[in-house]
């Protein structure tokens, strides 16, 4: 069973959706890449102790999204990275989460200045790290040549 897949069976979120979302997430962060093999429906059903129909439903949806392809005999293969539309969906969902956070902060009566300060500190930290990692990679690459 892929280690990036964890199903919470009594969370109330339909299980096939959990599988779809986690495959998308694995593609997003690069754990899964085009050409990678997904487990067969039968094997994943046994590994997760889950009705195979539920996995068929998840794989069908992923196939409709153009992310995987199942061929009889050849198994199920990842065919694409997250395309633009999916990425746009992920971004919209992220901004929704941001909105909820700000709303909850307002509900708690947090000072807007404090919220802004924290927000900027987080931006510094996360975007700064990403930049320095990219710089490091460039330097290392340059050094090897």
């Amino acid at each position: 069973m892929p280690i990036w897949l964890t199903i919470d069976k009594d969370s109330g979120v339909p299980i096939y959706l959990q599988i779809v979302d986690q495959v998308k997430h694995a593609l997003e962060v690069g754990i899964l890449q085009p050409g990678d093999q997904l487990p067969t429906v039968r094997q994943l059903g046994i590994d997760l102790t889950l009705a195979p129909n539920t996995i068929v439903k998840a794989y069908n949806e992923l196939q409709d999204l153009g992310l995987i392809k199942s061929r009889p005999g050849a198994g199920t293969v990842v065919t694409a990275n997250l395309n633009g539309a999916l990425r746009a969906g992920q971004i919209a969902a992220l901004f929704d989460r941001l909105h909820t956070l700000v709303r909850d902060a307002a509900g708690l009566g947090i000072d807007p200045a404090e919220l802004t300060a924290r927000w900027e500190a987080d931006i510094q930290q996360c975007y700064g790290q990403q930049r320095s990692a990219a710089e490091r990679a460039r330097e290392e690459h340059g050094g090897g040549e």
């Binding site: 009594d10 889950l50 009705a51 539920t54």
Partner: protein, 322 residues
């Protein structure tokens, strides 16, 4: 309706795809004056892992016994694997694997004796499967049935039922009396031997977490009547709770207006908070409520697990009775 030609694997698979494993139409079963099953109708698709749920005394065991021809229906009809439950009950019992709640195995027989007995009385027999699961479940291979614990007896009964390589396995409370590890082993065995092979599993249970863990279809019954029958994931998608927070305590007219909206099943109010049980297009309803005038501050959607869903349905039915 008896097979005259031995069906090949492909024709059998084709037939299974078209024909439901079980079809029940307006079934009524009486115990004296009492209707234990009262106009029950639903269908079990071939290849499903189907959880049959209800409180104790709801009519689950009676339904199962009637499907296998152990009780006669007072009205209505049902087909199992295409066979009529009244006319063809012999054919049904020969083709369906069945493990009863009480596991009425012969206590004085040893395990090898009971295996020999089942082999002699079955249409098909795969001894290797039986031996494999007797080992998997850690059953003492030469013990007398009477010496086994309740959990071991149900594991033995399941191993024997799998030996007949049934296209449909019907289990009445299969994990009663099992510890969590043994329960996991049993559920995993069911997925491996039945569902992953494209066969159908129909099982009754009142342990909702285990049904949620493996089933893709569920039916809930109450007082011998169907409450709901649906794909479990579809049920979770179309039934959620929306929590509304108002700026001020909403007026009774607002509550009544909410109640009248489409997809609103029930409204409960506590101060500035309102809880809506929504059935149908929950996302559309949530969006509609977000933009609603009248001081709705925010709307949160809460997912329901099977236990929550079950309890909501039980609330519905008790309200219906009052």
């Amino acid at each position: 309706m008896i097979d005259t030609v031995a069906p090949t694997d492909s024709t059998r698979a084709q037939a299974a795809a078209e024909r439901p494993a079980i079809a029940i139409h307006n079934l009524v079963v009486q115990y004296g004056d009492r209707r234990a099953v009262d106009g029950l109708s639903f269908t079990v698709p071939a290849g499903a892992i189907f959880g049959f749920l209800g409180l104790n005394g709801a009519g689950k065991t009676t339904t199962i016994k009637t499907l296998l021809g152990f009780r006669a229906p007072a009205a209505g009809s049902a087909q199992v694997l295409g066979y009529d439950i009244v006319r063809d009950s012999q054919a049904i019992r020969a083709r369906v694997g069945y493990v009863s709640e009480t596991n009425s195995l012969y206590d004085q027989l040893t395990i090898p004796q009971i295996i020999a007995f089942c082999r002699a009385t079955s249409r098909r027999w795969n001894g290797a499967i039986v031996d494999r699961y007797i080992r998997t479940f850690g059953l003492p291979p030469r013990a007398r049935v009477g010496q086994l614990s309740k959990g071991m007896k149900s594991q033995l009964a399941l191993s024997l039922a799998l030996g007949g390589e049934p296209d449909l396995l019907i289990l009445d409370e299969p994990t009663n009396g099992l510890d969590p590890l043994a329960r996991h082993e049993v559920l995993n065995t069911l997925v491996r031997e039945i569902a992953a092979e494209g066969k159908t599993l129909f099982f009754s249970s009142h342990i909702l977490t285990e049904v949620e863990a493996i089933a893709d279809w569920v039916a809930i019954i109450r007082d011998g009547r169907l409450v709901v029958c649906d794909e479990l994931d579809h049920l979770k998608q179309t039934q959620r709770v929306l929590k509304l927070t108002y700026d001020q305590v909403p007026a009774p007219a607002e509550i009544a207006a909410l109640q009248a909206l489409p997809a609103v099943a029930r409204v409960e109010q506590e101060g500035r908070g309102v809880r809506i049980v929504a059935r149908g297009d929950v996302d559309a309803l949530a969006q509609q409520l977000q933009g609603r005038p009248g001081g709705v501050r925010h709307v949160d959607a809460v997912n329901l697990n099977l236990e929550d869903l079950f309890l909501e349905y039980m609330k519905d039915s008790s309200e219906g009775q009052q």
